[in-house]
C-alpha cells in the first residue's frame, strides 16, 4: 500500500460516503453510455475514472456536473439529491479538457468569474483571487489573457478558477491531455499537492493508467458503461478481478487453462498448451474443470538459464526479442506451443554476457502467489 493510499484509508475510515452514485444510467437514443453505475467517493479523496474513449467515463462526469441529465438513477453529494438541480446551482465545479478559459477575459477576470456569480463583495473577490493564483503560482500573470499563456499555465488558471469557489466536489476531465509528456509528469504531482493542500474532494477522468495511478487514491476501471473494478491503484494492479482490468492497466501475461486440483490454500491449473501446470496460491471458489485464466505480470517472471526444480510454475521457451531499457530489459519469449510471454527483468549486474540472449533456450518461472486467477 502506498503512502497516498494509506492517507485516504485513514480519511475514509471514519466518514460516510460524501458522493454517492446509485444505479446511474444514461442512454443516448439506443446507445447506453453509462449502465447502472454505483459508486461512492469519500471526502478528501482523489478518485479516478479510468477507461478507454467511449467507455462512458466522461458522460458520468458530465452528469455529476449537471451538464447531462441522467436517464435514471441518483446522485447524492453531501447527502443532497442532485437531480433537477441545474449546473449553475450545483456545489460542483469542473475543469474542462480544453480548459475552456474565457478568451476575452484576463487571468484575473477568469478566476473572479465564479465568485462574481455568487455576489461576493468586490474587495473579497480580489483578495480571494490573488490568494488562489498564488497557490497555483500564477500570481504574476494576473493581467495576461489566455492566448498569452502556455499549456501548463492555462491548466493552472483553469484549476484556480474552480478552486476559488471551494466547491464540495471538483471534477477534472482529462486534466493532463493537453500537455506534453514531460510537463504532464511534473503537473500530476503538483496538482495532487495542491488538491491535498486545499483538502478537495475530486473525481477525475483519464484514459492514461499511469496518470490515474500517480494521482488517484482510488481507481474505477470502466468499460462499455460499466465499472469493472474499484480499488486503490496497487490493488487494481496486483489483484485484477477480470481480464479487462488486468489488460487495461499495465501489461500482463494471460495463460488459459482449467482447474485440475482444488486445495485449501491453492489450486492447480492445467494448461493444455504448455508442458507444465500452474499453481496459484489464491483462496478462490473454484470447482474442478472450470475454465480460468491465470494473469501474471511481466516483472513477476524470472528469466533464467537454469532449469527450475519441480514441475510447477515454469515454462521453457526461446528468447525471441529483447528490449533493453537501461534499468531493466523486457524479454519476449516464445513457448513451444507458439504462445508469447513477456518477462521483465531488472538489470542488476553490469555484465551483459551473463544475461540471456537472442534465440537462447531459457526457463521462465514465478512464485505461486504471483499469479491471479481470472474467471471472466
Amino acid at each position: 500500500m502506498t503512502r497516498k493510499e494509506e492517507k485516504s484509508e485513514k480519511k475514509a475510515a471514519n466518514r460516510k460516503p460524501y458522493v454517492e452514485i446509485r444505479k446511474l444510467t444514461k442512454k443516448f437514443d439506443t446507445i447506453v453510455a453509462v449502465d447502472e453505475v454505483n459508486l461512492t467517493v469519500h471526502k478528501g479523496e482523489i478518485f479516478a475514472l479510468l477507461g478507454s474513449s467511449g467507455c462512458g467515463k466522461s458522460t458520468l462526469l458530465r452528469m455529476l456536473a449537471g451538464l447531462e441529465t441522467p436517464t435514471s438513477g441518483h446522485i447524492f453529494i453531501d447527502d443532497k439529491e442532485m437531480s433537477g438541480i441545474p449546473p449553475f446551482k450545483r456545489p460542483v465545479n469542473m475543469m474542462f479538457q480544453s480548459y475552456a478559459l474565457f478568451p476575452h477575459m484576463t487571468v484575473e477576470q477568469n478566476v473572479a468569474f465564479g465568485l462574481k456569480q455568487d455576489k461576493v463583495p468586490k474587495d473579497q473577490i480580489r483578495d480571494r483571487v490573488m490568494e488562489v493564483l498564488k497557490l497555483v503560482e500564477m500570481g504574476t500573470y494576473a493581467r495576461r489573457k489566455s492566448h498569452q499563456l502556455s499549456g501548463g499555465q492555462m491548466q493552472r488558471v483553469a484549476l484556480a478558477r474552480i478552486l476559488v469557489k471551494s466547491p464540495k466536489l471538483l471534477l477534472l476531465d482529462e486534466p493532463m491531455a493537453a500537455l506534453d509528456k514531460k510537463l504532464r509528469t511534473q503537473m500530476q504531482i503538483e496538482l495532487v499537492d495542491i488538491l491535498e493542500k486545499v483538502e478537495a474532494t475530486c473525481i477525475m477522468v483519464t484514459h492514461d493508467q499511469e496518470e490515474a495511478m500517480t494521482m488517484a487514491s482510488r481507481i474505477a476501471v470502466m468499460d462499455d458503461g460499466h465499472i469493472m473494478q474499484i480499488g486503490p491503484p496497487s490493488e487494481v494492479y496486483e489483484y485484477p478481478n477480470c481480464r479487462f482490468s488486468a489488460e487495461f492497466i499495465g501489461s500482463v501475461n494471460l495463460i488459459d487453462g482449467n482447474v485440475k486440483e482444488v486445495n485449501k490454500d491453492h489450486i492447480i491449473v492445467e494448461t493444455d498448451v504448455h508442458e507444465n501446470n500452474v499453481q496459484v496460491a489464491h483462496g478462490l471458489d473454484c470447482s474442478i474443470g472450470m475454465n480460468v485464466s491465470v494473469a501474471i505480470r511481466p516483472e513477476k517472471i524470472l528469466v533464467s538459464k537454469v532449469k527450475p526444480e519441480g514441475n510447477l510454475n515454469w515454462f521453457k521457451g526461446e528468447v525471441e526479442d529483447i528490449v533493453y531499457l537501461g534499468g531493466s530489459s523486457t524479454y519476449y519469449v516464445r513457448l513451444p506451443s507458439g504462445k508469447k510471454i513477456i518477462a521483465m527483468q531488472a538489470n542488476l549486474k553490469r555484465t551483459i554476457h551473463e544475461r540471456p540472449t537472442w534465440e537462447e533456450q531459457i526457463y521462465l518461472s514465478w512464485l505461486p502467489h504471483s499469479g491471479v486467477i481470472l474467471t471472466s
Binding site: V92, F96, A100
Partner: protein, 298 residues
C-alpha cells in the same frame, strides 16, 4: 549575374498580389482620382461639362483649384441636412438589422448542422433576384391597395388603408429588407465558431444561461457585430434606389441628391464634391471596420 537577373524577375507571390492591386487601381483609384479632380473644376456648358484644372500659357503652368463647390455644399442647407438625414437613415436601419439579424444568425449557428446550410441558403437565395426588382416588389406589397393593407383590412385590424408607400417607413422597411443578409452572414460566421464548452464552463461556475449569453457569447461576437453593422451602414448611407422607389418627395438621402446633381442639374463638379464628402464621412466607420477585421484574424 544570372542570380541578379533572377532577382529582377517577378516572383509568383508578387504576381498573385499584383492582380487585386491592378484591379483596385483600374477600377477604384483612377475613377476616384477623376471624381476628385472634377470636384475642383467649374461648371461650363460644354462636353465634358466642366473646366480643366491646368492651363499651360507662355511657359507657365497654371493650376486653378476651385473650392467653390465645397463652399456651396456648406452654404446650401439642403446638402448638410441630406448628409445628416442619410446617416440617420443608415444608423436606424443598421440598428434594426442588428436587432432582427442577431437572433436569426444565432438560431442558424445553433441549429442542427444538417439543416444549417439550408437555412443559410434561404438567407442568400433572395439575392439571386435583381435588387431593383425586389425593391419594386415592395411597392406592390406596401401600396394603398397592396398586399399588406389588404391583409390588415381582411384581418379587421384597420378600416382605412395605411399610408406606408412613399413615406420614410417604407424606406426603412426597404433598407432593412435589402441589407439584412449582410448583417446575418458575418454574425453567423462569428457565432458558429464559438466553443460551446465556454458556455458550459460559465454554467458550471454558477452563471445562468441568459447571463452567460450576455457575459460570454455577446462580447465574443463583438467583431461579428461590428462587421455586420459596417456592411449594412456603409452602403445604406449612399443608398439611392430604395429612397427613390419607396420614399416620398420629402425623403432626403444623399444618394438621391447625388443623382439629381449629376443627371437633372448636370452639375458634375458639385456632384463630385458631394461624392467626395460622402466618402470622407464613410472613411471613419471603414477604418473602424478594418481595425476589428484585423483583430479578428489574429
Amino acid at each position: 549575374m544570372i542570380k541578379r537577373l533572377k532577382s529582377l524577375q517577378p516572383s509568383g507571390r508578387a504576381i498573385v498580389i499584383a492582380i487585386p492591386f491592378t484591379w483596385m487601381i483600374l477600377f477604384f483609384l483612377i475613377p476616384f482620382a477623376l471624381v476628385f479632380k472634377i470636384s475642383f473644376a467649374e461648371l461650363q456648358l460644354a462636353i465634358p461639362p466642366f473646366t480643366d484644372l491646368t492651363r499651360y500659357v507662355d511657359e507657365a503652368l497654371f493650376i486653378k483649384l476651385n473650392l467653390g463647390n465645397y463652399l456651396f455644399l456648406l452654404q446650401d442647407p439642403l446638402y448638410t441636412s441630406a448628409y445628416l438625414s442619410s446617416v440617420k437613415f443608415a444608423l436606424v436601419s443598421t440598428f434594426l438589422c442588428l436587432l432582427i439579424g442577431y437572433p436569426m444568425a444565432y438560431a442558424i449557428a445553433k441549429s442542427n448542422p444538417n439543416i444549417r446550410n439550408i437555412l443559410l441558403m434561404l438567407i442568400v437565395l433572395p439575392s439571386w433576384t435583381e435588387f431593383l426588382i425586389r425593391i419594386y416588389a415592395w411597392i406592390g406589397i406596401l401600396k394603398n391597395n397592396g398586399l399588406l393593407n389588404n391583409f390588415l383590412i381582411w384581418l379587421g385590424l384597420i378600416k382605412e388603408p395605411l399610408m406606408i408607400l412613399n413615406t420614410n417607413t417604407a424606406v426603412y422597411i426597404g433598407i432593412v429588407y435589402g441589407y439584412l443578409p449582410f448583417m446575418i452572414l458575418p454574425l453567423y460566421t462569428n457565432l458558429v465558431k464559438h466553443d460551446d464548452t465556454l458556455l458550459e464552463a460559465a454554467y458550471d461556475l454558477g452563471c445562468p444561461p441568459w447571463k452567460s449569453f450576455l457575459t460570454i457569447t455577446l462580447p465574443l461576437s463583438f467583431a461579428g457585430v461590428i462587421a455586420g453593422c459596417m456592411l449594412v451602414f456603409i452602403p445604406a448611407v449612399g443608398e439611392f434606389v430604395i429612397p427613390d422607389l419607396l420614399g416620398g418627395s420629402d425623403t432626403l438621402m444623399i444618394g438621391k441628391v447625388l443623382w439629381q446633381e449629376f443627371f437633372n442639374n448636370r452639375d458634375w463638379p458639385v456632384a463630385s464634391a458631394v461624392a467626395i464628402i460622402m466618402l470622407l464621412i464613410l472613411a471613419l466607420p471603414l477604418a473602424v471596420f478594418h481595425h476589428y477585421q484585423a483583430e479578428e484574424t489574429l
